[in-house]
């Protein structure tokens, strides 16, 4: 039961985002990078399948040097192989990134390919399904439960007010939702073992891709802005709950027009 897990690096969730000088990217100074939270559920599921059924868990990341750290952490948690495609992913759109990942995945033995349901950086929720289309694989997205055996995967897809139980033939793409499992922390033993695993470092050229294949974007960022500062809010004293309640209802009725 071999899995590939695609890992995205994103700014730590505590980060106060600042806009960079060109007005199109964030200012990366001092930013601490982490594995995107949804990818942790993806990785954990792949590791659990390996523990039950054997096989390899290959983590895959496309991006600059710092991606190595995210791959090393993933190895420490239990991934068995890692591939880093070193390149400037920052200018690529989702389809460009998907093309790179698809090209790499074709070279790694796999039954399932896992993604987090979205990377909490750009929050596009696009790359996983795009890779599925490029590879011609079935996809099951926003998965909260999964079982895989004998060429078939059965997963619960979370939709509005329900869960669909979906069966698909493997190989298949799975995007993980929070609640799929409880991701483990890396153990000291895992950290030590991970140091011995070589992260394969590749370039786009190794997969027959040129920069123009990936950077020939369909979606370009025109500008990046912080949310506008909110003004005009007022505070009232809630010491008298009945009076406060009346004032809130007045606001809701007259200004929000929601009553």
């Amino acid at each position: 039961m071999n899995s590939v897990v695609c890992i995205a690096q994103v700014p730590d969730t505590e980060t106060r985002i600042k806009i960079g000088g060109d007005g199109r990217h964030i200012d990366e100074t001092g930013i601490k990078y982490i594995v995107s939270p949804f990818d942790e559920y993806a990785l954990e599921e792949a590791i659990r399948l390996k523990e039950k059924q054997g096989g390899d868990v290959t983590v895959l990341g496309f991006g600059p040097d710092r991606v190595q750290q995210a791959l090393r952490e993933s190895l420490a948690r239990g991934a068995t192989k890692a591939v880093h495609v070193n390149g400037d992913s920052g200018e690529a759109d989702s389809l460009g990134i998907a093309k790179v990942l698809a090209a790499v995945i074709r070279t790694v033995p796999h039954d399932l390919v896992f993604f987090g349901k979205q990377g909490v950086g750009t929050d596009n929720s696009l790359v996983g399904p795009m890779v599925a289309e490029l590879l011609g694989y079935p996809q099951i997205n926003v998965v909260t439960h999964l079982e895989a055996a004998e060429g078939k995967v059965t997963a619960y897809r979370e939709i509005e007010g329900a869960e669909e139980v979906i069966e698909a033939a493997m190989p298949a793409i799975i995007t993980a939702q929070k609640g799929l499992n409880e991701p483990r922390y890396a153990s000291l033993k895992g950290i030590m073992a991970a140091k011995k695993i070589v992260i394969e470092t590749k370039s786009l050229a190794d997969f027959g891709l040129a920069d123009s294949d990936v950077l020939n974007q369909r979606v370009t960022v025109v500008s990046l802005e912080l949310p506008p500062e909110k003004t005009g809010g007022r505070k009232i004293d809630g010491a008298d709950p009945a009076a406060a309640a009346k004032e809130i209802v007045r606001y809701i009725k007259e200004e929000a027009k929601a009553l």
Binding site: V10, T13, T15, R16, I17, D93, S94, L95, V120, G121, T122, D123, S125, L126, G128, P129, M130, A132, E133, P138, Q139, V142, R157, E158, E160, G161, E163, E164, V165, I166, A168, A172, K178, G179, R218, V219, T220, V221, V222, L224, E225, P227, K230, G233, K235, I236, D237, G238, P241, A242, A245, E247, I248, V249, Y251, E255, A256, K257, A258, L259
Partner: protein, 317 residues
């Protein structure tokens, strides 16, 4: 002739809110570019509503209920038949599942979860949240078709009063490698935060999970969905489907009421585009007051039940 094509979903014999919202902004884009607004559905019942929201034609494929591969094939056929230059999908689970698949198939650009859209300089320009809503990116999509999924509640649904859309039947292959074996409907039947006009959220100030009953009572009285901060979800007080903010959802309801939510950066980012924000917190320095339109400094354990009573009174009139 190029057109704006909107993916529509039918529920209880009417178009879903997300579809009506997408048609409404689609109509504005179509009028601006001087092209037709058209729609796609797998149910002919959509024709009346689609027309009311401005669609001239409804492309119908007999594809049955949602399946990624069959719907991708059917939408591809509709896009070709309509010569669509812009494709919009409401940001429902199915819309979000389908859009990237379609984009990769057509080598097209796609922007997800947009809350602003315009056709300018011959291109589709969209605004979307990034870093869980801590920033907003304005993007441009090059080439055709340009695809976008709209955030629910971001665009108002506005009828234009047109006649029923003309039905155009299309054929598409029905093979698929996935099968929906069963649909498990959630017992509570609660309103989803993604679609609600009103959200009432609880935070750590509730002190324990059982106190979410205060939030539920208010949400029920006012007709809203129950939201939650990450801290309460991680503490196991409520299911992650209610989580607003980072690793939860970015929401844009008309009214957001936060009780006992301090307003950590990860939470604020997820609800800052709400149109009207009321915050109840006993800490006058709580960060949530920075973005609240109406901040109430006080004890939620007395204020929230009092508010529930006042809401019930107001509704009774």
């Amino acid at each position: 002739m190029p057109a704006v094509l909107v993916f529509c979903e039918v529920q209880d014999n009417k178009l879903k809110k997300a579809s009506r919202e997408a048609l409404s902004i689609g109509r504005k884009l179509a009028e601006g570019a001087g092209v037709d607004l058209v729609a796609f559905a797998t149910d002919r019942a959509a024709a009346g509503d689609a027309g009311r929201y401005g669609a001239k034609r409804l492309y119908v494929a007999g594809t049955g209920s949602y399946n990624t591969e069959t719907y991708t094939a059917a939408m591809q056929a509709a896009i070709e038949r309509a010569s669509a230059s812009v494709v919009l999908l409401g940001g429902t689970s199915n819309g979000r599942d389908l859009a990237p698949r379609l984009a990769a198939r057509l080598n097209a650009g796609v922007a997800s979860d947009v809350d602003r859209l315009e056709w300018t300089g011959g291109k589709l320009r969209a605004r979307r949240p990034v870093y869980s809503g801590k920033a907003f990116a304005t993007v441009e999509i090059i080439g055709t078709p340009a695809i976008a999924t709209t955030r629910i509640n971001a665009f108002p649904a506005e009828e234009s009063g047109g006649a029923a859309a003309e039905i155009v039947e299309i054929e598409a292959p029905l093979d698929s490698k996935t099968k929906v074996v069963e649909t498990k409907v959630a017992e509570s039947g609660e309103l989803s935060i993604a679609e609600a006009d009103i959200i009432v959220s609880g935070g750590r100030g509730l002190k324990e999970g059982a106190n979410f009953s205060l939030i539920r009572d208010l949400a029920h009285a006012i007709g809203g969905a129950v939201g939650a901060s990450r801290a309460t979800v991680d503490a196991g007080w409520i299911d992650h489907q209610h989580q607003v903010g980072q690793t939860g959802r970015v929401v844009s309801p008309n009214l957001y009421i936060a009780a006992g939510v301090s307003g950590a950066i990860q939470h604020l980012a997820g609800m800052s585009t709400s149109k009207h924000i009321v915050a109840i917190n006993k800490d006058p320095e709580a960060p949530i007051f920075r973005i609240a339109d109406l901040g109430v400094v006080g004890d939620l354990f007395t204020i929230v039940p009092a508010l529930t009573e006042e809401v019930k009174k107001a509704k009774a009139h």
